[in-house]
């Protein structure tokens, strides 16, 4: 507790409990989130959404809304013939012009003096629809006579201003396909002594950031766009907004106020952002658009729902032989990052355990349902749920202890998988052993199994699951870089300008810490600037657990350059080789004796005012030295990989179906702990998010409509429900990682549901392959009043 580091004087900061730099402001209510910012002259915008699930828009009458006093602009697609599409597949116009494909669809928008006026104006807009048949399951969507969601080419102006086909018609409702294979599955099957097959069904959940979505758009007198945005990828969006608006990217500045939660939800551009920009352009006023909570539920992305058929085999000696997987992803009406989650799912399917033969095919199918985006874990919760169920089932089939079975097939350091991932640091087997030992997994599993049929209606169960996830950046874009500018003032204070965004995860603290470690400075002397694309250097964005690793390495590089510069100058002054000097405790010291030569601030001042005017500003840019995957998805996706094993202990009340998560024991290979406080917070928060996915959260979509768009019926985990959490870190000191660390942001959420599923089986002998484990779902499964998920006939 008391190792809270206030200065660098008591040695290294690495592994200490460092409080977040922004925490005092946040705890005092002084932090200004986007909701708290008002610009002079600002108008308020509201969006009219569809009252239909699927319909042609015959006409829109905005005259009454326009006539309402206080209304400055009402826009529809007809007002914006130059609209260009957004999204991963560019199949999505911000304002819909021909038809609506889901109830979230944006039809018109109003800018007015107040939110109340904007809200009232929406009610005066009359839309005449011609209803179309709705397609609300992937099965329906795949049938040959199903209505086509995107049956026509989408035409929009290209960079030359002329009409181009920007998204081609889909005549089979297929939005995206992925296929990956290694080895020969037939060979693997032939070598198998045991084969198991299941259909898994993973449900809709959504991010529920406590701060709802919002944006403020403003054009300056020279038509430059300033966007106050919650985005997690400011530099990529700068370019995307430029394309969308037909603007020079250099004229777009994105400012990021502190963000009320991200979790991947802010990786894509959503219609409300361009809509606010259109309104700002038309009204020549700043326009602020903030969601209500209901709107946040309806118009935010979800986690990708997945229907998955998996077949796996092993020999009687417990060696995995093959894995064959097919998935159907309900793509919803438009394509966002959810459709690309197979990219991550295939890594778990092919490489969490050693599987010589593997086949994975997947299709994302358009429907009139909500669409999925990226969400902490990015497909891996879904893939891990299935893979880890099969690890238990295969172990049981051959009569082997499930821990032993996993250890036998787990990856080792140095392994290059058939998919081409190179596991340079890998603490997987340690994670398995440590988690099992600390939780007494084997003893409890046997004891619970023996008690399964006793008279007690409350059953206890223990279950294990592990995960593999990117931990050293993710090569999704052509670059995975992050820039840093480091500026030292003549009082020895550092301003670190980084492209990496802070979304609550603690990146600014860990970056400051890494810089202090290099320069021998106390944390209080580093200020991090990370929120303005006009000021900060380029970065891909905050996603894929990459910031500590990528931005951390970048910051270390910048700090080392500054240090080199200072020590080189000091070497000349003190007539010693630079290698013999160091910076420590805000001084330049002799490395060997620790003798203080001069105060750092004083020395820097002397550089500023010397005839060489050395200003000690430096910059550094880091790009991890690994190749991209090829078109067959072979190769590394990350410079390092994170591993974890979690053991869940549950109580299942067979009278009610209520599953209580009693304890999670987690062993996480994090490379190295940098900020113990921060990493514990990430793990604990991730575990509870995983708990919500497993047990409480269920975004109910019926006939294309979200039935529970509120916290009353969409149940986030509350404080009394959290499990006991015993988290231990396996430090493998990654060679590429900053101070040996790997990324960890997503890891803790990934295996909870899989572990809970195995624990429920251990408790009851019932294998449930569909999430969530809400009381009724579990009760039905326990009392044979539910059908396990079935594969899609049309597929």
């Amino acid at each position: 507790m008391n190792d809270t580091a206030k200065t660098g004087s008591n040695g290294s900061l690495i592994g200490k409990r460092i409080p977040k730099k922004d925490a005092p402001e946040k705890a005092s209510g002084k932090t200004r989130y986007i909701h708290d910012i008002d610009l002079p002259g600002q108008l308020h915008a509201k969006i009219l959404r569809s009252s239909q699930v699927h319909a042609k828009i015959k006409s829109i009458d905005t005259s009454a809304a326009k006539a309402l006093p206080g209304v400055h602009a009402v826009i529809t697609a007809a007002d914006l013939p130059w609209q260009r599409p957004i999204g991963v597949a560019k199949d999505h116009l911000p304002l819909k012009h021909d038809k609506v494909r889901s109830p979230r669809d944006e039809i018109a928008a109003v800018a007015a003096d107040t939110e109340a006026i904007a809200e009232a104006a929406l009610k005066l807009i009359k839309v005449d629809y011609e209803p179309l048949p709705a397609v609300v399951t992937a099965e329906e969507a795949m049938s040959p006579d199903a209505p086509r969601l995107h049956g026509d080419d989408l035409i929009a102006p290209g960079p030359d201003g002329k009409p181009h086909v920007v998204h081609q018609a889909s005549h089979d409702n297929v939005a995206m396909v992925f296929q990956y294979g290694q080895g020969e599955v037939a060979t693997g099957k032939a070598a198998s002594d045991a084969i198991v097959e299941d259909v898994f069904k993973l449900h809709y959940v959504t991010h529920c950031c406590m701060g709802v979505s919002g944006v403020i758009a403003e054009f300056d007198a020279s038509e430059n766009l300033i966007l106050y945005s919650n985005t997690q990828v400011p530099f990529l969006h700068k370019r995307e907004f430029a394309e969308l608006l037909g603007m020079d990217p250099g004229r777009i500045r994105i400012v990021q106020p502190p963000i009320g939660g991200g979790f991947g939800s802010k990786l894509d551009i959503y219609p409300f952002e361009p809509i606010a920009i259109y309104l700002a352009k038309i009204t020549r006023r700043p326009v602020k658009l903030v969601f209500t909570r209901e709107e946040e539920f309806i118009a935010s992305p979800t986690r990708q729902p997945v229907l998955m058929k998996m077949r796996s085999g092993c020999t009687r000696d417990g060696v995995l032989t093959f894995r064959e997987v097919e998935t159907i992803h309900d793509n919803g009406a438009y394509t966002s990052w959810g459709a690309t989650t197979p990219f991550v799912m295939m890594q778990t399917i092919s490489s969490l355990y050693r599987v010589p033969h593997c086949d994975y095919r997947t299709r994302a199918i358009y429907s009139n349902n909500p669409y999925a985006g990226s969400f902490r874990g990015y497909g891996n919760l879904q893939a891990t749920f299935a893979v880890e169920a099969h690890m238990d089932r295969l172990a049981e089939a051959i009569g082997m202890d499930p821990l032993e079975f996993r250890l036998k097939n787990a990856q080792d350091p140095g392994e290059v998988t058939p998919q081409g991932m190179h596991f340079k640091s890998c603490g997987f087997k340690d994670c398995l052993s440590v988690a099992a030992e600390r939780s007494e997994y084997q003893e409890k599993r046997r004891a619970n199994e023996a008690r399964r049929n006793d008279g007690n209606p409350v059953k206890r169960g223990v279950g294990m699951a592990s995960m593999l996830h990117v931990g050293g950046g993710a090569k999704i874009y052509p670059s995975d870089g992050c820039g840093t500018i480091l500026k030292m003032d003549d009082f020895g204070r550092v301003t670190l300008l980084t492209g990496a965004s802070e979304i609550g995860q603690g990146s600014e603290t860990v970056l400051a810490q890494l810089v202090c470690e290099e320069l021998g400075l106390p944390l209080t002397s580093v200020n991090v600037v990370n929120n303005d694309t006009d000021v900060t250097p380029w970065d891909v964005g905050v996603h894929a657990s990459r910031t500590t690793f990528i931005a951390g390495n970048s910051a270390i590089g910048a700090a080392r350059k500054a240090k080199d510069k200072i020590l080189t100058a000091a070497a000349a002054k003190f007539d010693q080789p630079a290698e013999a000097l160091d910076t420590r405790d805000q001084c330049i010291v002799e490395k060997s004796s620790g003798k203080k030569l001069v105060e750092l601030a004083k020395f820097i001042r002397s550089l500023h005012f010397s005839d060489k005017a050395e200003l000690v500003m430096t910059s550094y840019y880091y790009e991890p030295p690994s190749k991209h995957q090829d078109k067959q998805f072979r190769g590394d996706v990350s410079a390092a990989y994170a591993w974890a094993t979690q053991v869940a202990e549950v109580e299942v009340d067979t009278r009610t179906g209520i599953v209580k998560l009693v304890k999670i024991t987690g062993a996480h290979d994090v490379g190295r702990v940098l900020n113990r406080l921060g990493i514990e917070g990430q793990i604990e928060g991730g575990i509870v998010m995983g708990q919500g996915y497993a047990l409480t959260e269920d975004l109910i979509v019926e006939n294309g409509v979200i039935r529970n768009p509120n916290f009353r019926d969409y149940k986030l985990v509350t404080a009394p429900e959290i499990p006991e959490m015993d988290v231990v870190f396996v430090e493998t000191m990654d060679g590429e990682g900053p101070q040996g660390a790997k990324g960890v942001g997503e890891a803790p959420a990934i295996c909870v549901a899989a572990a809970v599923a195995n624990a429920i089986y251990n408790a009851t002998g019932v294998r449930i392959t569909a999430l969530p484990f809400t009381p009724e779902n579990v009760y039905r499964a326990l009392h044979s009043n539910s059908q396990p998920p079935t594969w899609v006939a049309a597929a």
Binding site: K123, E140, R712, D713
Partner: protein, 309 residues
Amino acid sequence: MNEHLRSTAVEREPAPPTPWGAADEIATYLAPRSLDAALEALRAGPVTILAGGTDLMPQSKTGRARFHPTLMNIRRIPELQGIGEASGMVRFGALATMTDLLENALVRSRFNALWQACDCFASDQLRNVATIGGNICNASPAGDTLVPLLVFDAHVVLASKADGTLATRTVPLRDFLVGPGRTSRRPDELLTAVEVPLPNERFVSAFYKAGARPALDISAISIGVGANPAAGALNDARIAFGAVAPTAIRAPRTEATLEGRLVAETIEPALKAADDEISPISDVRASAWYRRELIRNVLRGMLENVGQC
């Protein structure tokens, strides 16, 4: 093809007559400081009554509730405050909050089921504000306090000045609740208090609300049980259910089955009677089938527990 041809309209609340919704509805705001003034206002015309506001505010914001031209805040009326006991009758002022009830020694010692219901009511912030009168008048089939109040044979006291003079009537809670969100309160009446006969000291009671979390949950079902147990039998057995009928209900046939007999011998017929007495629906929170299963399984455990007292 036919199976695709389902209705595509999104079911939403009908649009209000003016685009301003709640902002356009309230012509007059009153905050009377006496019961008399409040009753005069009620006599004068349609009034929306505001107490804690914890249901009214979100209902009005989402358009689920409409305001009458007069919004009357009754929180400053002294006659509606307080909890007290006189000659075997406990009176809960309509403005008693859940926190008031939780902190009341009499509730703690003699009305266990009510205390338990208040304990798992929403959250501390809501318990500090939500009133017993509001919870009753809101008449949710899943209203947390209704089930234990039914067990304790609560009556509501209604005051009015229909003909210019103060009139009160006392109505059994079970008659007061007439449907989801509907009570037998006349528009000119104000619920001033809830009266509950003090049960004898041997009377035991319990409340159960289905859910994985202790509170902040709208129950899939709730059950209240009360009785004077004696040597494995239940006397004065009282059973009430929430969220399995249009209102919270007492279950007289279940009670009759249990009355005076050994629990161990009557439990199966009692469960059968309970199943006959409930009429659950399926909604976003639970299916009718699951609600029936919960009632059966949980009631069994509760009866066994009471039987062992």
